[in-house]
Point group: C2
Chain length 298, copies 2
C-alpha cells in the first residue's frame, strides 16, 4: 500500500475513538466540579456503584459525577486515589498494572486551575485528557537539507519497548511547566545541556484520541523544535533510550509508516515535515487530511 494511504490509516487508528463502531456512544460523560473532564467507558461503569461517596451516577445513567461532597482539589484527588488503589489490588484493569506513582492534572475546558489529579496509569479509565511534550531535534546542513535525531526506546520500557521515538519526550506531570518538563526530559533522556535545550521553540500541538479494549486515550502533545549544532550528539542518559540515530528526513518519512515507530511520535514527526515544507500540498493528495487528523479537537 502506498505511503500516503498508510499514513491515513495511522491517523485513523490514532483517532479510533471517533470512528464508527467505537465505544464512544456507550461512554458516559464524566464531570468534576460541574465541568466536563472526560468520558467513562462501559467497562468501568459497573464498578462505580460500590463507591456512593465518590461517584454520583444519575438515575438515567446519563452522566457520572465526582461527588460534590468532596470539597476541593486535594479531597477529590485522595478519594479517587483510594478507589484506584483498590482496583489495582483487585487486578480489575490491566492498565493499572502499569501504575507509575505519577500524578496527572485533571483540567476542565475553561483551563482554570486543575480540578484534581489522577494517577497517570488510570487516566484512560475516565477518558481524562493527558498532556505531554515532544521534541523534534534536527540538524540543518549548509545546503539546507535537514536530518532529525531519532531515539530508540529501551527494551525495558513498559510501553512500546524497542520502538523509535523523538529525540526527547515525556508526560506532563502535575505542577511542572511545559518548557520546564521539556528541558528536564532533554537532560534525563538525551544528556542535552540546559543551555541548548532552552533554545527549543514551541510550534503547536498534536492531538488525537484512540481507544483500546478498556480505555480512552485523549492526548495532547506540546511540540517543540530544536535545531542542534552539527557537532552535538545526544547520548543515552537515564536509560529510557538505548540509542540515537541522525537520519535524513526522507528516511524518517519512510519510517513513519513502519510499525517500528511509537505511533504518537510518528505523528509528531509528520507534523514537523508538514510545518517545514518537506511534505507539500501539490504532491501529497491527503495533505489537508493529514493536518486535520493531527489536530483532533479533544
Amino acid at each position: 500500500m502506498a505511503w500516503s494511504q498508510r499514513v491515513l490509516q495511522l491517523l485513523h487508528r490514532m483517532n479510533s475513538f471517533h470512528a464508527q463502531g467505537s465505544i464512544k456512544c456507550l461512554c458516559k460523560p464524566f464531570y468534576v466540579g460541574g465541568q466536563r473532564v472526560g468520558s467513562v467507558p462501559p467497562g468501568v461503569l459497573p464498578h462505580l456503584g460500590r463507591y456512593p461517596g465518590v461517584f454520583l451516577v444519575d438515575e438515567g445513567l446519563s452522566r457520572v459525577e465526582l461527588s460534590s461532597g468532596l470539597g476541593g482539589y486535594s479531597e477529590r484527588s485522595e478519594a479517587l486515589d483510594v478507589v484506584l488503589r483498590e482496583w489495582k489490588e483487585e487486578k480489575l484493569f490491566d492498565c493499572l498494572e502499569g501504575w507509575r506513582d505519577e500524578k496527572y492534572e485533571v483540567m476542565g475546558r475553561s483551563c482554570d486551575p486543575p480540578l484534581m489529579n489522577m494517577e497517570r496509569a488510570a487516566t484512560s479509565l475516565f477518558g481524562v485528557k493527558r498532556y505531554g511534550v515532544h521534541l523534534n531535534g534536527f540538524v540543518r546542513r549548509s545546503d539546507g537539507q535537514m536530518s532529525m535525531w531519532i531515539g530508540r526506546r529501551a527494551l525495558s520500557k513498559p510501553t512500546y519497548p524497542g520502538m523509535l521515538d523523538n529525540m526527547a519526550a515525556g508526560g506532563l506531570a502535575a505542577g511542572l511547566g511545559i518548557k520546564e518538563a521539556l528541558v528536564k526530559e532533554c537532560a534525563e533522556e538525551a544528556c542535552v545541556p540546559e543551555r541548548l535545550a532552552a533554545r527549543a521553540q514551541p510550534a503547536g500541538t498534536v492531538s488525537y484520541c484512540y481507544e483500546d479494549g478498556t480505555g480512552i486515550f485523549a492526548e495532547c502533545q506540546f511540540v517543540y523544535d530544536l535545531e542542534v549544532p552539527t557537532d552535538f550528539t545526544p547520548t543515552v542518559g537515564d536509560g529510557e533510550v538505548q540509542e540515537f540515530y541522525l537520519w535524513p528526513l526522507q528516511q524518517v518519512r519512510d519510517a513513519i509508516v513502519d510499525s517500528d515507530f511509537k505511533p504518537n511520535c510518528a505523528l509528531v514527526v509528520l507534523d514537523f515535515m508538514i510545518r517545514h515544507g518537506f511534505i507539500q500540498p501539490d504532491t501529497e493528495r491527503y495533505y489537508h487530511q493529514f493536518v486535520e487528523g493531527l489536530h483532533t479537537t479533544l
Copy 2:
C-alpha cells in the same frame, strides 16, 4: 475582555456550524457519484423537488444525491449550473448575488479526481468544501524579531471591504495548482516577482466551518510562509488591496481580535504565531484549544 478569550470567541464563531443550536442537525448529507461531498441546509431543501432530473431526494428525506443519470464531470457540472443560474435569476438566495463566474472543484473524501465543479458563490448552498491559499509574508530583523506584511482590502471588494488581509490570498479555482495559484495571487495583488514568490514554503492548513443565515462555509486554506528581504516592499497590483503595512508581530497579534481583520486571515496569522513560537504554551492558557480550533476536521 482579555485577548485570549476574544481569540477563543473568534474560533467559536468560525466553527459555528459545529456549535449547539446550529442548522447542522437540519441539514441533509449531499452525495455526488456515491461520495459524500457536503450538506444541504434546510433553506435549500424545498427548492430541489423542481429538478427531478438533477437531484434525487430519498423518501425519508435522509439524503440528497446528484442524479446518477448525470454521467460524469461535465454533465454534472452543467446540469447544476443551469439550476444555479435559474435560482440567481429568481433572486432566491442572497449569496448568488455575488456570482463570480469562477468554478470550484467538488471533491470527495478520497481525493480522487474532482467529481464536478460548481460556481464559487453557490458552494455554501451545498456545504461543499472550498479551498484557498494564503501567504504569511514576513521580515526577520537581524536581532531575530519578526514583522509581517499585512494588506488592507480595497473598499470595492464585494466581501470584507476595507478589512485587514494577509500579504496575498485567493480561492483555489478549478484546474490550478496550489503553489501556482499562490504565485499568481502574489503577482496580481502585491506585485511580488515570481522568483521571490516561488521561495514561499508550505506550512500546513487552517480549516474551519461556519454557517450564516442560509449557507455553510466549510473552508480549508493552504498556508505558505515567505520570508521577504528587508528591502522589498509589496505594492498594490490589481487593486484588490489598497495598502500594505509592515507591522511588528505584537501589533498583528493585537489586531487578530479587532473586528478590523477579515476573520479567516486572522486565523492564518494566529497559526503563524503559534508555529513560530511567538505564542507560547506556558503563557497562553488556551494554547491547545487555539491549535485545535484552527484545524477543524471538515
